[in-house]
């Protein structure tokens, strides 16, 4: 038990989805995307994650369908392996060990037993395209060391490589040139766009390349937004290209449709452009996709497109350019200013989302619930624009109030600041703007906090600002003769010697307000707004401030920038203890006295959980993350856990989540890895059995009748042919997926053996009697009170003959096999 309760750091959601192009399955039912060390399989219809393929030990860098078996998927990873998966069941079939870091993967239907990968061998930034021969072997792990070099000095990104015209050539772009390698001739042609010739527009670097599926045509995207279509590139001299220009900024990705009739392109404008017939006139748009298009892919069936966006989402788009589904991870386009919050109403995690939005993310279902549009201004997606940022947000009064702060600062002195207070309207189940405050402070707001005491009669909000003031806002009655209304007004403005106010925090009962002014902590009475006392440790600026809770409510904790954690006793107004700890994140647990602090060192981040009353930590976990931890939050559990071990008791009532600098959301889990993994790797036990069409009924009945007839005739002739369903060898052969079967040669003898039949068919006669016996037993078994039970055997609907065969017991089968072994003579007779 204790062994099982080993706290581990687990990634808990919102992983990156937009690292590489997503890949469609052949029937467009599934879409695959790489996500960290995993490959995720999503349903294109329901946006749900069907499987997570885990097995790689490092970042997965490329995925492709197996061109020879469209139910299999290849993936390559930085751990130097190529893995082959059965994605329907989520099973790893094979692992090919290549050995060096693999940066991208390509497959070709023409190159049957080899795949192409990008590797870097000698120098760190020189990449090569090589083809890897995948040896045929039945073992699970195979070494694939047979590399043959194709192209050198290429770009690392898989967007810069494309195979064209059924694998006749491969095109690669880098900086100002396009190189085309012809497999048959084994020659490389190189076409250069001279950057020197047109120095004014020297931004014509290549960014991506795509090849027409059937014609000899290469499309390349450029930094300046142009798309060039290259033709006739077999000849180094006579090659031509035409230009398509719509994008005003870099072309991020290009894709040809399956038939090659249209070309798709996208970029920072967040508009998917479809160029029909590769002409400039004929183009269609799908605008307002929300964020920069990073990748475009096309389903092999041709009915769907998908675009991967920089805000960690995949949009699935119909052929007629209509978005049909969005697979959205945790939005991670930009930096998180608001920190992590929990919406008391929906229990969702709330943080910065799309530009100008707050995202509500359900931790239970690992899904984005919705984005709340706070700024409500059209977002102009262009490089270098200074946007309005949503910098602070806070929930108050059990989710009835939401305060948001937005700011835009173009220059040091030109600050635009706005605070909005939203009221939750129960009638319409949504937020309504109640008060909008322009320039609530002269300078940036550093902290925002509601008084969340249960007995507080009027909602109170405190804002602290760099301008040296903190303001107390209260909700007052604004009713007049026309309407009843409430609105927020400023109640008190406090300052302390013109120092910048850096943090503010209410005590649990709401009676005290602590505001830190740089190095000094001031305590204010929340009724009269009198300054009660000040604490000053001269240990650097206060970075975090929080009151103890429950039994520890007499303590106030402050973490300073100089790496000292102080605990003051509010009753004695003295320092209780201090510790040297470079605290990055400090969060109190709303359900207990515990406080979690994450400290940052050069090696990594460490977690300390402690009670303010005693300086000895309850729990320490070293090295929770290599990166800097930016934010953390305690999430109350719906159902409390019951860990008995003292070290884990802090996890009983709340769960701790934290967000690292690369914006991966992590948490602590005590469950053993297996337990945690099973739900994802679970397989549906139920077999798919679908009478898909009405024809089935007709055909099915017909077949049944046939079967019955057959059986009748068989009985008449007293010749017993074993039906295929009955023999284990055959059923094994037919029901095992083809890709896990041993070689045909190995199976052949077994299979033939199983088909052989003894001439004696005595056993067949015994069987019916046996069945009768059983049925009699059953009727005896039927219970009192006349409720007769009829047991129906698995295959009661099929004919009698089949029933009989089903009753072959194991001993009888053994007998049969013995006979078979003996009786080979008749083969010779044939």
């Amino acid at each position: 038990m204790v062994e099982e309760e080993n706290i581990r750091v687990v990634r808990c959601g919102g992983s990156e989805l937009n690292f590489r192009r997503a890949v469609f399955s052949a029937d467009s039912k599934y879409i695959f995307c790489v996500s960290g060390d995993f490959v995720k399989v999503y349903s294109t219809v329901t946006e749900e994650c069907v499987h997570i393929l885990h097995g790689h030990r490092n970042l997965v860098t490329g995925i492709q369908l197996n061109p020879n078996n469209h139910l299999q998927l290849y993936s390559c990873s930085l751990d130097g392996t190529i893995k082959l998966w059965d994605y329907i069941d989520g099973i790893l079939i094979k692992t090919f060990i290549v050995g060096c870091k693999l940066h991208a993967l390509f497959t070709l239907a023409q190159a049957e037993d080899s795949v192409f990968v990008i590797v870097n061998k000698e120098k760190p930034d020189i990449f090569q395209l090589v083809s890897v021969k995948l040896p045929k072997s039945s073992s699970q792990e195979v070494e694939a060391k047979e590399l043959s070099f194709v192209l050198d000095y290429i770009n690392q990104s898989p967007k810069c490589i494309a195979f064209g015209n059924e694998g006749v050539y491969v095109a690669a772009v880098r900086e100002f040139y396009l190189s085309v390698y012809f497999f048959k001739k084994k020659t490389t042609s190189r076409f250069t766009l001279s950057s020197s010739r047109n120095k004014k527009h020297a931004k014509n670097n290549f960014t991506c390349v795509a090849c027409h599926p059937t014609e000899d045509c290469i499309a390349s995207g450029h930094m300046d937004g142009k798309i060039r279509l290259w033709r006739n590139f077999y000849d180094d001299k006579k090659y031509t290209y035409t230009c398509l220009h719509w994008h005003h900024d870099m072309v991020m990705d290009l894709a040809f449709s399956v038939t090659g009739t249209s070309l798709l392109s996208g970029g920072r404008e967040s508009v998917l452009v479809e160029w029909r017939d590769a002409t400039e006139k004929n183009k269609e748009f799908l605008p307002r996709l929300g964020a920069t298009i990073e990748h475009i892919s096309v389903s092999p069936a041709g009915d769907l497109f998908c675009t991967s966006h920089s805000d960690n989402k995949i949009i699935i788009i119909h052929r007629n350019l209509e978005a049909s589904a969005v697979i959205q991870g945790l939005v991670k386009d930009r930096s998180i200013f608001t920190g992590l919050m929990i919406d008391p109403r929906t229990k969702a995690l709330v943080l910065n989302g799309k530009p100008g939005h707050l995202q509500f993310y359900s931790l239970q279902s690992d899904k984005q619930l919705y984005n709340l549009d706070i700024i409500q201004q059209e977002y102009i997606n262009d490089y270098g624009l200074i946007q309005i940022e949503l910098t602070k947000a806070a929930f108050g009064c059990f989710g009835n109030w939401l305060a948001t702060v937005e700011q835009r600062q173009e220059k040091e002195t030109e600050l635009e600041l706005q605070m909005k207070l939203w009221m939750y309207n129960k009638k319409t189940q949504g937020f309504i703007l109640n008060t909008k405050i322009n320039m609530p402070h002269e300078d940036c707001i550093t902290a925002l906090c509601f008084c969340n005491a249960e007995k507080s009669e009027q909602p109170t909000l405190v804002t602290a600002s760099k301008d040296g003031y903190f303001k107390v806002w209260i909700l007052t009655d604004d009713s007049d003769i026309y309407k009843k209304a409430v609105g927020w007004t400023c109640d008190f403005v406090g300052s302390y010697h013109k120092y910048q106010a850096t943090n503010c925090c209410f005590s649990e009962d709401g009676s005290l307000l602590a505001v830190s002014f740089e190095e000094i902590v001031t305590i204010w009475d929340s009724v009269t707004w009198e300054l009660k006392c000040t604490f000053c440790q001269r240990a650097g600026k206060i970075r975090h401030l929080c009151f103890g809770r429950l039994t520890c409510s007499k303590y106030l904790l402050g973490a300073t920038e100089n790496g000292i954690l102080c605990c003051w006793n509010l009753l004695s107004c003295a320092l209780e203890w201090n510790a040297k700890l470079n605290v990055r994140v400090m969060e109190p647990d709303p359900n207990s006295e515990n406080i979690a602090a994450i400290s940052q060192s050069s090696v990594g981040s460490d977690l300390f959980v402690f009670k303010p009353s005693e300086p000895r930590p309850l729990y320490i976990q070293k090295g929770i993350s290599r990166e800097k931890v930016q934010w953390g939050v305690f999430v109350p559990r719906d159902v409390p856990e019951s860990f008995t071990s003292e070290a884990y008791q802090w996890l009983n009532r709340s769960q701790f989540y934290f967000l690292t600098k690369s914006q991966s959301l992590l948490t602590f889990s005590t469950k053993s890895p297996e337990e945690k993994l099973t739900p994802t790797s679970k397989q549906l036990l139920a077999e798919e059995s679908l009478p898909t069409t009405p024809f089935y009924f007709i055909l099915g009945k017909h077949r049944q009748q046939q079967d019955e007839k057959l059986n009748e005739t068989l009985e008449n002739e007293l010749v017993q042919l074993p039906l295929t369903e009955n023999i284990p060898a055959i059923s094994e052969l037919l029901h095992t997926p083809a890709h896990v079967l041993p070689s045909a040669a190995f199976l052949c003898s077994m299979f033939v053996n199983s088909l052989l039949l003894s001439k004696e068919t005595k056993s067949a006669k015994e069987i019916p009697e046996d069945v009768d016996m059983e049925e009699e037993k059953e009727s005896e078994d039927s219970d009192e009170e006349n409720d007769f039970t009829e047991k129906v055997q698995d295959t009661s609907n099929t004919g009698l003959g089949e029933d009989i065969i089903h009753q072959l017991s194991k001993s009888e089968e053994k007998e049969l096999r013995k006979f078979r072994k003996i009786d080979y003579s008749w083969i010779a007779a044939l």
């Binding site: 949504g430 909008k436 927020w488």
Partner: protein
């Protein structure tokens, strides 16, 4: 009985549409509507997750549905690599949904893939399926039908495992015991079957109409003295069609008592029942019953033996529309289903129409016996296709929201009188002031009528009009006076104002200053006059600070950008002068320059006089105020004069004074000048 499509024609069919919350955290709500569509909603954000139309939805509508337990998973996962590093932690995924149809087939629908997974037909029912239950552990499915049979399905092979006759009439409901070894079925009577042998273990009788719902309410017997065999001592609950009583039964070993132990009364036929299982003796069972009339009744009861009287609900929840205006009365909104959240302290309510239900999480407050929630669902009918894909919600921003900008009261804390003693004085003064004002008003009215008889608006009628306007708060009268632009007239009027009207006048001016900038331009003139003329009086007031606090804050906020403005102003002047100098001769430019500088001067000239007078008496802030105010005047006047020309009266003195001011003002940007030159 004919296999009719839909049970609505059958009088003994249970009311309500088949619907269910997904197990574990209730992330989804599945609802099979009468038009044959299956819709799955996300409970957390009230979004339509998917919609599925079975191919035979018209002939065989869905009659019941059940979510598969989330634990349905492979016995051995293919790889179990002990990876110490991070693993993706997905919550329990719920997937399969079993649908029973009116023609007897059972469909298994995969909500993850959004497609039909399999169809259980062969050897099953040949009439309407009434209830489906999944076995918790074994992956079996139990179904009962109008064809009197109960069928045990093997879901792995999609084949019938066992089929037996459950009753002499149609079997309407099923329930599996907490330990998974017993099965309750209900037709005419309630029977408890042993699953292994398919034998009847107990009989319970009591309902007159077909039982529509069955549910175990405890998982352990309340008295733990005797050893627990998995079933004895457990309580279960049953509801029937057209029956306003929910019966509770106890499985007992010794006496074969067949009647109900106790009952709960509700207002109408129960449509949807959810409960929290009690795990120990002390914990009460919480029961939420949705009735056909759209109400939810909540019961909280510790089950311990026989209870004669039917229990009434602890709390009733109703939902109604907000009756807009006086005419329309609030209409009730039917609740379709209610489910307890995993914390047992809140309830998920599904209400509205089945076409577009609203799902809301309501915190339970057991103290109130009746909860009526007012909800506006009219906007829910709007098509939400766009939001369904982008998942963006736009909170309402309407004109009713209060807007605070710097200078408006409420943006900054009101300046309050510090000592309480002065407050008393203030109140006395106020009362005295009021008395006087009544007398004054009478007098003023006399004068006013007298003046009005003459019907000519002379300068000396202005103070009277203003006083009267201030006291009666007559907007038009005030407008008439305050919208004058004649500086002399303003001065004279202010001089003649009675002292007690000064503070109301200032407050009126403050209010108008907060308004449109154009009107503020005029008010500034007035304000300036009042402050200069009555400075001595104002300084004697003890409560001046709180009285004029808003005015002060307003000014402070308005002049905040003054420095930048004057910078800009200075630079522009430099530019203009240089441009004009380059174009014309020097002689021609200089008068223009002078004219520009004149504007700045005008106010400061007056101010300088006043300042000297006031400096001793006024507080610090008052000085600031005046300065700033006068500075503001400069700007304002610039506009003024650009628009309407020049005041003839003061024109002469300005030029002389302007020289002084020029020196003072140009200090602001000496660097600029040097740069330019």
């Amino acid at each position: 009985m004919a296999a009719g499509g839909g049970g609505s024609c059958d009088p003994l069919a249970p009311a309500g549409v088949p619907c269910a919350f997904s197990p574990h955290s209730q992330a989804y709500f599945a609802l099979a509507s009468t038009d044959g569509h299956l819709r799955v909603w996300e409970t957390a954000n009230n979004r339509l997750h998917q919609e599925y139309v079975p191919s035979a939805h018209l002939s065989g509508t869905c009659t019941c549905l059940a979510w598969a337990p989330a634990r349905l998973q492979a016995k051995e996962s293919p790889q179990r690599k002990k990876r110490k590093s991070e693993a993706v932690g997905m919550s329990n995924q719920t997937d399969l949904l079993a649908l029973g149809t009116a023609v007897g087939s059972i469909l298994l629908y995969s909500t993850v893939k959004g497609e039909l997974h399999s169809k259980l037909i062969s050897g099953g029912h040949d009439n309407r399926v009434n209830c489906i239950q999944w076995h918790q552990d074994s992956g079996c499915l139990y179904s009962c039908s109008d064809d009197k049979h109960i069928v045990e399905w093997n879901v792995q092979t999609c084949k019938v495992k066992c089929k037996w006759k459950g009753d002499n009439s149609s079997v309407s409901s099923l329930c599996i015991s907490p330990d998974g070894k017993m099965l309750l079925s209900a037709g005419r009577t309630i029977k408890l079957w042993v699953l292994e042998t398919k034998e009847v273990y107990r009989h319970f009788t009591g309902h007159a109409t077909p039982v529509s719902s069955l549910m175990f309410t405890t998982i352990r017997p309340p008295n733990e003295s005797q050893p627990f065999d998995g079933i004895t001592g457990l309580y279960f609950l049953s509801g029937a069609v057209h029956d306003r009583l929910l019966n509770v039964w106890q499985v007992r070993s010794e006496n074969k008592e067949k009647s109900a132990v106790m009952s709960f009364t509700v207002t109408d036929e129960p449509v949807y029942i959810d409960l929290t299982l009690s795990e120990n003796k002390e914990e009460p069972v919480k029961l939420a019953v949705v009735c056909r009339d759209g109400q939810v009744h909540l019961f909280e009861h510790i089950l311990n033996g026989y209870c004669k009287k039917p229990l009434t609900s602890n709390c009733t929840i109703q939902i109604a529309t907000p009756g807009k205006g006086k005419k329309s009365t609030p209409k009730p909104i039917p609740i379709l289903a209610a489910g307890f959240c995993s914390d047992k302290m809140s309830l998920l309510l599904v209400y509205g129409s089945w076409f577009q239900p609203t799902i809301e999480r309501v915190a339970l407050n057991s103290r109130e016996p009746h909860m009526c929630l007012v909800r506006d669902i009219s906007n829910c009918w709007a098509p939400k296709v766009e939001t369904a894909i982008t998942k963006v919600r736009t909170p309402v921003m309407n004109s009713e929201a209060k807007v605070l900008v710097p200078g408006i009261p409420g943006h900054h804390a009101a300046i309050k009188p510090a000592p309480p003693q002065t407050e008393q004085v203030e109140s006395k003064r106020k009362s005295g002031g009021n008395e006087v004002s009544i007398e004054e008003r009478l007098g003023a009215m006399d004068i006013d009528t007298h003046k009005k008889g003459k019907e000519d608006l002379q300068t000396n009628s202005f103070p009277v009009l203003l006083t009267q306007g201030l006291e009666s708060n007559d907007f038009e009268m005030l407008n008439k006076v305050l919208q004058t632009r004649n500086v002399n007239l303003i001065k004279k009027t202010v001089l003649r104002m009675p002292l007690h009207t000064i503070i109301p006048l200032l407050q009126e001016l403050t209010k108008r200053l907060q308004g449109h900038p154009n009107s503020a331009v005029l008010m500034v003139q007035w304000l300036k006059c009042v402050l200069t003329v009555h400075a001595s009086y104002l300084s004697t007031l003890p409560d001046l600070v709180p009285q004029l606090g808003t005015l002060y804050q307003l000014m402070e906020s308005r002049v905040k950008t003054f420095q930048k403005l004057s910078h800009l102003h200075g630079k522009l002047i430099l530019l203009i002068t240089q441009v004009t100098a380059s174009e014309k001769t020097k002689g021609a430019t200089s008068p223009g320059q002078k004219a520009k500088l004149v504007y700045e001067e005008e106010s400061s000239e007056e101010e300088s006089d006043d300042e000297i007078a006031d400096k001793d008496s006024e507080d610090n802030w008052d000085e600031d105020e005046e300065e700033s105010e006068s500075e503001k005047d400069e700007d304002v006047e610039e506009e003024d004069e650009d628009a309407e020309g020049k005041d003839e009266e003061n024109g002469e003195d300005r030029d002389t004074a302007s020289e002084k001011e020029l020196n003072g003002d140009s200090d602001l940007d000496p660097e600029n000048e040097s740069e330019e030159e």
